[in-house]
């Protein structure tokens, strides 16, 4: 790699010669981990001579095999009488998998400190490392280059940091899985692609990471692929994401056709000369946003994310909550210069975000599967992030991205810890009940005290209770939205005949309502899981135990981050530390775009802002109180005794039947056309019938005609010969 390194830039950069020169190693370390773990995964899983538990116990066993549990394999699981057999290379993989992430994280921390030394938020130029020319085609020159600025630095820290914690958690969670090395190789590969995504120096390079994380998401959702439902969920995620990627590609084509460059710096420069709100820049932004809608699970392409919960729970934490699904938010923030030039596109982003936030929050109110609650919560929180970046409050959106990565990873890992305990308990008693259904839980606080406390911290953080992280980030988003509804470039734009200002106030109201629901459904989840009487079962109860330290340790770290993450960007009104750290840090990346959107509006009066903050806290408290008053965990019965829901509750439980509507409106017609027209008509009829078999019939017919000429009569041959000679001679004579 090093010999390929060319001089980063003509002019000296403050990061030259610092730890930033090792930037390439940050993503390459996880790649190396992928290669090693991948190689280990194809070696025989168990020592020779030992009976292969994979054969004896179906396709898998152990605590991590929860989601694919089927009654016929569960009974054969290892228990006290059959000690669990670990994968042959489990020890090595447990060192390499999280180890590469740890080194990667330390390296990025060193680079971060080098960047702080070089001025931090005062460093105006991005540090660009070019490796080789990737696509030199005519005027288009696309380099394999990394673009390190304050935004990508922050994302790198989040990805490697949270990724490291989740890798460590996985060592405990996945320990008994026969696919242990395969799991870690996918997870390492995911981190590699995610780092390409956040460090890529141009749109196509970012797109490699974008597609790569999609691939890893697919592989990990379908990790237990022997269960068809899991494989289908992976396929669904992949196909839905392709729809979004189509938009991303179109946006890149438009950029190349009209600007002739795909570098972030080049596009940024080219955008300056475009008219604000012009058709081109609006189209580019809307198509880019289509990509974000797919990747970040917004309406109408959110349907894949709840299904993605089929994967192992740490995967849900890392990919489907903390990092990959926030890639869309990152992309909008990264393209802030484009979006600030397209107020209508921004309005669309805000609206989609706001509607998604309230829509999925309402579904979360009525889910019974603990992971589904968190999945819809993630979709809803992603909506908040899009409200932030869409309304030009890029720092607020990215701030929420970071705090959400902390508290949602904590919630998912906590739910993983709960499921781990539930599964182990059911496992001991050969019970085949649903280990993820909250109706089967209840009263877990006395069995899982650490998880209980840590998850309450995360719940209060996501609900927006001060001074936890979620309060600051969510309040900043809603506050910025309120301020921009009054006066900004977006407020003066028009969409569907209504002023942007109206739309923004509308979105703000939706955001507030969604905040209320967030507090309610999270409290509901906590009440049903940890409070009230235990519904797990008499025999099972004695087997409920807290997870080992390798799992609770990362939870503690995440809880500290979730609690104090708000200090990253304190508002000026609450100066309980240094204010606006993130504002200052991201100033060179998004400052200009933000000011462009705000368009020199006067600062909101402190009174109004205090009022907004008070309102946000009030709503959060009201949401929590409502849940506590309304819900009676004591009256809940286990899943198998539970009655059917009625009326609107039923609609919420069935997720507004969106999957069914999509199935009838899109999937079935597409399948029907594929089957009836494309398969039977085009493939079997035209291509096979006319093309393949037709040409075979033609050849056979011509051959038959030829064979009829072969009479075997020498006389005939002689006649043909003579006539042929005559014809040739005649032709020569005529010439």
């Amino acid at each position: 790699m090093l010999p390929l390194l060319q001089a980063a830039a003509a002019a000296a950069h403050p990061l030259d010669g610092t730890a930033a020169r090792w930037l390439w190693a940050v993503p390459l370390l996880p790649l190396a981990g992928f290669v090693i773990n991948g190689a280990l995964s194809i070696l025989p899983a168990y020592h020779a001579g030992a009976a292969d538990p994979g054969l004896a116990h179906g396709d898998g066993h152990g605590a991590a095999h929860l989601e694919t549990e089927t009654p016929d394999t569960a009974g054969a699981h290892a228990d006290d009488h059959h000690p669990v057999k670990r994968h042959r290379y489990a020890g090595l993989v447990s060192i390499i998998g999280p180890g590469v992430l740890m080194v990667s994280f330390l390296l990025s921390a060193m680079i971060f400190f080098a960047m702080r030394g070089a001025g931090g938020g005062a460093m105006t130029e991005p540090f660009i490392q070019r490796y080789f020319s990737w696509m030199p085609v005519g005027d288009l020159k696309i380099d394999a280059a990394f673009h390190l600025d304050q935004l990508s630095m922050m994302m790198t820290l989040v990805v490697t940091g949270v990724g490291m914690l989740i890798h460590i958690f996985s060592v405990g969670y996945m320990q008994d899985d026969p696919g242990y090395p395969r799991y870690f190789s996918y997870l390492n590969l995911f981190v590699f692609f995610m780092l390409l995504l956040v460090l890529g120096g141009n749109y196509p390079f970012l797109f490699i990471g974008w597609e790569g994380v999609g691939l890893c998401s697919y592989l990990l959702i379908g990790f237990w692929f022997s269960d068809k439902a899991n494989a289908d969920a992976g396929k669904k995620a992949f196909v839905v994401n392709r729809i979004g990627d189509f938009g991303f590609l179109i946006a890149m084509f438009l950029m190349f056709a009209n600007m002739g460059t795909l570098d972030f710096t080049g596009v940024r420069a080219a955008t300056q000369s475009l008219p604000v709100g012009g058709a081109l820049v609006t189209a580019i932004c809307l198509f880019l946003f289509l990509g974000c809608v797919g990747k970040s699970a917004q309406i109408p392409l959110y349907v894949w994310l709840p299904d993605a919960m089929a994967g192992p729970t740490p995967v849900s934490a890392l990919i489907h909550a903390a990092t990959m699904v926030t890639a869309g938010v990152y992309l909008v923030a990264r393209s802030s210069f484009l979006f600030s030039h397209a107020p209508v596109a921004q309005l669309v982003v805000v609206l989609v975000g706001a509607v998604t936030a309230i829509f999925s929050a309402s579904i979360g109110l009525k889910q019974w599967d603990i992971k589904k609650v968190l999945a819809y919560s993630t979709v809803s929180q992603l909506g908040y992030m899009f409200i932030g970046v869409g309304s030009g409050a890029y720092v607020a959106g990215v701030f929420h991205l970071v705090t959400h990565a902390f508290f949602k990873a904590l919630l998912f890992l906590g739910s993983g810890s709960v499921i781990y305990a539930m599964h182990a308990a059911y496992h001991h008693t050969d019970n085949h009940d649903d280990a993820q259904d909250m109706r089967n839980m209840g009263g877990l606080r006395q069995y899982l005290p650490i998880t209980f406390i840590l998850m309450w911290i995360a719940t209060l953080a996501i609900a927006g209770i001060p001074p936890l992280s979620g309060f600051f980030s969510k309040d900043e988003i809603l506050g910025s939205l309120f301020a921009r509804a009054e006066h900004s470039t977006i407020a003066s734009a028009h969409l569907f005949g209504l002023a942007g200002s109206v739309w923004l106030y509308f979105s703000w109201a939706l955001g507030l309502a969604a905040a209320f629901m967030t507090a309610t459904y999270m409290t509901r989840m906590m009440l049903y899981t940890f409070h009230g009487p235990n519904r797990t079962g008499e025999a099972e109860r004695s087997h409920l135990r807290e997870a080992p330290w390798v799992m609770t340790g990362p939870l503690v770290v995440l809880a500290i981050l979730a609690a104090f993450g708000g200090w990253l960007n304190l508002p000026e009104l609450i100066p309980i530390g240094r204010v606006g750290l993130l504002d200052h840090w991201l100033e060179p990346v998004v400052g200009e775009s933000t000011r462009f959107v705000v368009a020199g509006a006067p600062e909101a009066s402190p009174g109004l802002e205090y009022g907004l903050i008070a309102l946000a806290v009030l709503i959060a408290v009201a949401g929590i109180t409502t849940a506590i008053i309304k819900l009676k965990p004591a009256t809940l019965v286990p899943k198998r005794e539970a009655p059917q829901e009625e009326g609107f509750e039923r609609v919420l439980l069935d997720k507004y039947y969106v999957d069914e509507i999509y199935d009838d409106a899109i999937v079935k017609p597409v399948v029907g056309i594929s089957r009836g027209v494309l398969w039977r008509g085009v493939d079997a009829g035209l291509i096979d019938g006319l093309g393949v078999n037709g040409s075979a019939y033609l050849t056979r017919f011509v051959g038959w005609v030829g064979s009829q000429l072969q009479s075997g009569q020498l006389g005939t041959y002689a006649w043909v010969l003579a006539l042929g000679v005559l014809a040739v001679l005649g032709a020569f004579g005529l010439r």
């Binding site: 030829g706 064979s707 009829q708 000429l709 072969q710 009479s711 075997g712 009569q713 020498l714 006389g715 041959y717 002689a718 006649w719 003579a722």
Partner: protein, 97 residues
């Protein structure tokens, strides 16, 4: 002189050709082939009168080949007859596709 010789050889050639085309007895067909060869030989000799001895040399080659061919051809016809008890070409259609 040349004209008459060429005319005569053309007549011989066409007689040979028609023999090959219309007769059914393999031996006669074979003899007609020889006739065609000799018609060509006559042409060579006739031209050799005017253009030097090259044509006559060629005639020797043709006669040599014709002798070898006669030996092989007659042997084939005998073999055919032993096999099929006939030399009628219409009954011999082993080449039929």
């Amino acid at each position: 002189m040349l004209g008459e010789a060429l005319f005569f050889s053309a007549v011989l050639f066409v007689i040979g050709l028609f023999g090959v085309l219309i007769r059914r007895n393999a031996i006669i067909v074979f003899m007609c082939v020889e006739l065609m060869l000799n018609a060509v030989n006559l042409t060579f000799v006739a031209f050799a009168q005017q253009y030097g001895a090259g044509g006559q040399v060629f005639v020797f080659f043709v006669m040599t080949v014709a002798a070898a061919e006669a030996a092989v051809g007659l042997a084939i016809i005998i073999a055919l007859f032993r096999h099929r008890q006939t030399v009628d070409l219409q009954n011999i259609n082993l080449l039929k596709g």
